[in-house]
């Protein structure tokens, strides 16, 4: 039963996609019920699967493999692998997807390409489930690209807007850069181990085989594959696409760019965790930390509600990556799960707000005011109570306030980094971790307060705002519930005793011992010793962040402008997102434009010119000799032709028409030949 079930789970959304693409427009209500219904079935099946798997087969890994293609003597298989990681991820994806489907029925109502939108959601869900279910890095790459393309299609859903299609392009191309590394990594693995399956690769490494016989290449392979995660999970330096991706419809941002697709990178790192060397892990940890810090610092100063959330997503993803890097495997993955719930909630909540604002602005025929700018909001609390309260829960969760799911996972991550430092040094990692925790609490509460609290910026707009319909609020409530601690562990202050921790265990490293990170036992011991310190610190810092936000924005004790002025260039840098876009624009976009124009010029002038070029040489020659008249260009414009032509012209000048000249030439040649043969 077990293999059919995941297959059905995988293929149902594909079926939905196909049906919606071909028949969506012809169905009643453009088929939204069909897509949502099928997704709901998928969700239910996934839950069944999760319970069965974790409940009854917890320690087993269920795989099935079939030959996809045989090349030479090597056969390449495709297959499905379900371990607890996959089972949990499955539920996360289907749950968020179902809720987003539901939410979209309200949010996207009346859209020009309504059925197309649902079709793409189906395609995305299919691809994402593929990533989760596969046992094989190649197939993962395949689905990896497919989620990329669905993300491309969804970001560009409103493709009439130039900014939307630009954002879609940017997302895809930046991801391609990461995928390039991942692709090379995959090539290395296959060439070394003749297989794409994780299992076989790990076994080979465990047996002491190394890519090209070198430890360096193993580390390189790990980092290269991680490049894929850098792209997809929007890690520094490839994080620039995610904020732009907010051009897509908000539910899409919730689904793809907050909860699931961007977490695929984390999932990927978790999948390949056993083959990562200590060096590779350290790189990963630092990338995560840098990302978390950069994004958090940017998020502080943004005013677009979705942009703030986007940067917060990047920052949280940095957390997860950092956690995996330091070896806090379970914590990282748990953060993925909890984050999926509350970040999806935040986005949907933001969606609800934007939806309401749009409706209000629409009524006022105001098309100049930005519906997403928090400076235009304020005081929406009373108008949208459900949205507000759920939003508050999500904010608490992301800030790591106790009793929320976010606290559980974040706390473990911070403990992990601290433990890592006690083992290896690298104090920067926990330092960044705690700073970012504070920043997170600060900017999230800033967002919450500016949006919902205080006085409305414009009474008129506020009057038009009303609570969203049920299809939109119910998903919010479900997600809010899921952002509370008891779903993950009955102990609100320690996740380690919960089912999650027992279900998802850090896998054993397969790399040669010298290259291994600290063993689980060692690491766990370190974590236990610093756990309480970390917990207290994290609570304090989060509280400080919240307090600061409240002081600045609620009580207005401290002027935000003042702070900004004091921060000086730091503020400027943060507002301008540390100029990443600008630098990339100059270096890569303009760079490639220069290269391509240069090559085009080269192609048309030099390469083609060599063919046509001899002509130029002859022309110079011609002007010197003054022999060749210039009016002889016939229909053959081509250069070689005209070269030959000119030569022909030269020769035909010998043909003077005077018979004695001919004879003179004959005599001359005669003499020359005579001299030659002597």
């Amino acid at each position: 039963m077990f293999i059919e079930l995941p297959l059905i789970i995988l293929l149902l959304p594909l079926l939905a996609f196909v049906l919606m693409i071909f028949f969506g427009n012809k169905l009643p209500r453009q088929g939204d019920w069909l897509a949502t219904g099928m997704m709901t079935i998928t969700l239910l099946l996934s839950i069944v699967l999760l319970i069965t798997k974790v409940g009854f087969y917890s320690s087993e890994t269920i795989t099935s493999n079939f030959d996809w293609v045989v090349v030479g003597s090597k056969s390449i298989g495709f297959g499905i692998m379900i371990d607890n990681l996959a089972a949990i991820m499955l539920v996360v994806v289907t749950l968020v997807s179902t809720l987003v489907h539901l939410f979209s029925m309200g949010y996207m109502k009346g859209d020009v390409r309504y059925s197309r939108y649902f079709a793409y959601l189906g395609l995305f869900s299919f691809s994402m489930l593929g990533i989760v279910l596969t046992n094989n890095i190649l197939l993962m790459y395949v689905f990896w690209e497919l989620v990329g393309i669905s993300s491309y299609l969804l970001i560009g859903h409103w493709y009439e807007k130039k900014s939307a299609s630009n954002a879609a392009n940017k997302a895809f191309i930046v991801n391609r850069v990461g995928d390039f590394g991942m692709f090379i990594g995959i090539l290395i693995l296959f060439i070394s181990f003749s297989s794409f399956t994780f299992e076989a690769i790990f076994e080979s490494i465990n047996a002491g085989q190394l890519p090209f016989g070198s430890e360096g290449w193993l580390t390189a392979a790990g980092i290269l594959i991680f490049c894929g995660a850098v792209g997809k999970s929007a890690q520094f330096p490839l994080h620039v696409w995610l904020p732009d991706a907010m051009e897509g419809p908000t539910p899409v941002s919730a689904l793809i760019h907050a909860a699931t697709m961007v977490a695929a990178g984390v999932y990927l790192v978790a999948r390949i965790f056993p083959m990562l060397t200590a060096d590779a892990l350290l790189v990963i940890a630092y990338i995560g930390a840098i990302t978390a810090l950069i994004a958090a610092t940017i998020a502080i100063t943004q005013f677009d509600i979705k942009k703030v959330l986007a940067y917060s997503t990047i920052s949280q993803l940095g957390y997860m990556i950092m956690a995996l890097g330091v070896g806090a495997y379970t914590a990282g993955f748990m953060h993925l799960v909890t984050h999926a719930a509350f970040k999806a909630g935040l986005f949907l909540g933001a969606g609800s707000v934007i939806f309401a604002m749009h409706a209000s602005l629409h009524k006022l025929h105001d098309h100049s005011t930005d519906a997403q700018d928090i400076r235009n909001m304020g005081g929406l609390k009373s108008k949208m109570p459900i949205t507000y309260w759920t939003f508050l829960i999500f904010t608490l969760a992301i800030s790591g306030i106790p009793l929320t799911s976010g606290f559980l996972s974040k706390d473990e991550i911070l403990a992990g980094t601290l433990a890592f430092s006690t083992l290896y040094g690298h104090w920067l990692l926990p330092l960044i971790g705690f700073v970012v925790a504070g920043l997170t609490a600060f900017y999230m509460f800033r967002l919450l307060i500016l949006t919902f609290h205080g006085k409305p910026v414009s009474e008129k707009i506020q009057n038009g705002v009303s609570e969203s319909p049920k299809v939109m609020t119910i998903p919010l409530m479900i997600l809010a519930a899921l952002s509370l601690f008891f779903f993950y562990s009955f102990n609100p202050f320690g996740a380690a005793s919960g089912w999650f921790y027992t279900a998802v265990e850090r896998p054993l490293s397969v790399v040669p011992e010298l290259l291994q990170p600290a063993t689980y036992a060692l690491f766990y011991e370190a974590v236990s010793s610093v756990h309480s310190t970390a917990m207290i610190l994290s609570i304090l810092i989060a509280a400080a962040g919240v307090l600061m936000a409240v002081a600045v924005y609620q009580w207005k004790k401290i002027s935000a402008d003042d702070l900004a002025k004091r921060a000086g260039f730091l503020y400027k840098g943060s507002v301008n997102k540390w100029y990443f876009d600008e630098v990339y624009n100059i270096v890569f976009v303009s760079g490639s434009h220069v290269v391509m124009r240069a090559l085009r010029w080269f192609d048309e002038t030099i390469i083609d010119g060599i063919v046509n070029g001899a002509a130029t040489v002859t022309k110079v020659f011609a002007s010197v000799s003054g022999w060749i008249d210039t009016n002889i260009v016939d229909g053959l414009v081509n250069g070689t032709a005209s070269t030959a032509n000119r030569a022909g012209g030269l020769l035909s000048h010998i043909q003077t028409g005077k018979v004695q000249t001919y004879l003179l030439f004959v005599l001359f040649s005669f003499l020359v030949l005579f001299v030659l043969i002597l």
Binding site: Q655, G657, K658, V659, Q660, L667
Partner: protein, 111 residues
Amino acid sequence: MEILMNTTIFVPGLSHFLVVSALLFSLGVMAVLSRRNVIMVLMGVELILNSANINLIAFSRFTELSLDGQMIGLFVIIIAAAEAAVALAIILNVYNRFNTINLDEINLLKG
């Protein structure tokens, strides 16, 4: 003159003939190349042909070639005559068309 007659030692050898013919040949070629009048050019051609004739006859006198050489000489004379006849006819026709027999002026066909 007298001295020459008396010097009976002098017998023209093959090389004398060859030198004469070579001179004749060169004169013919010179005529062909330098004269602008077609008739004069034709005279040059005659010189060339006859220089060859001198060769042939000399060879038939001085080598085992015997009469073959002289026979060829005869044929050549006939051919030269035929050629001259044809040439003159053509030149006449050219004169009718161009009103000149200056070779430099007859060059419509070129290039």
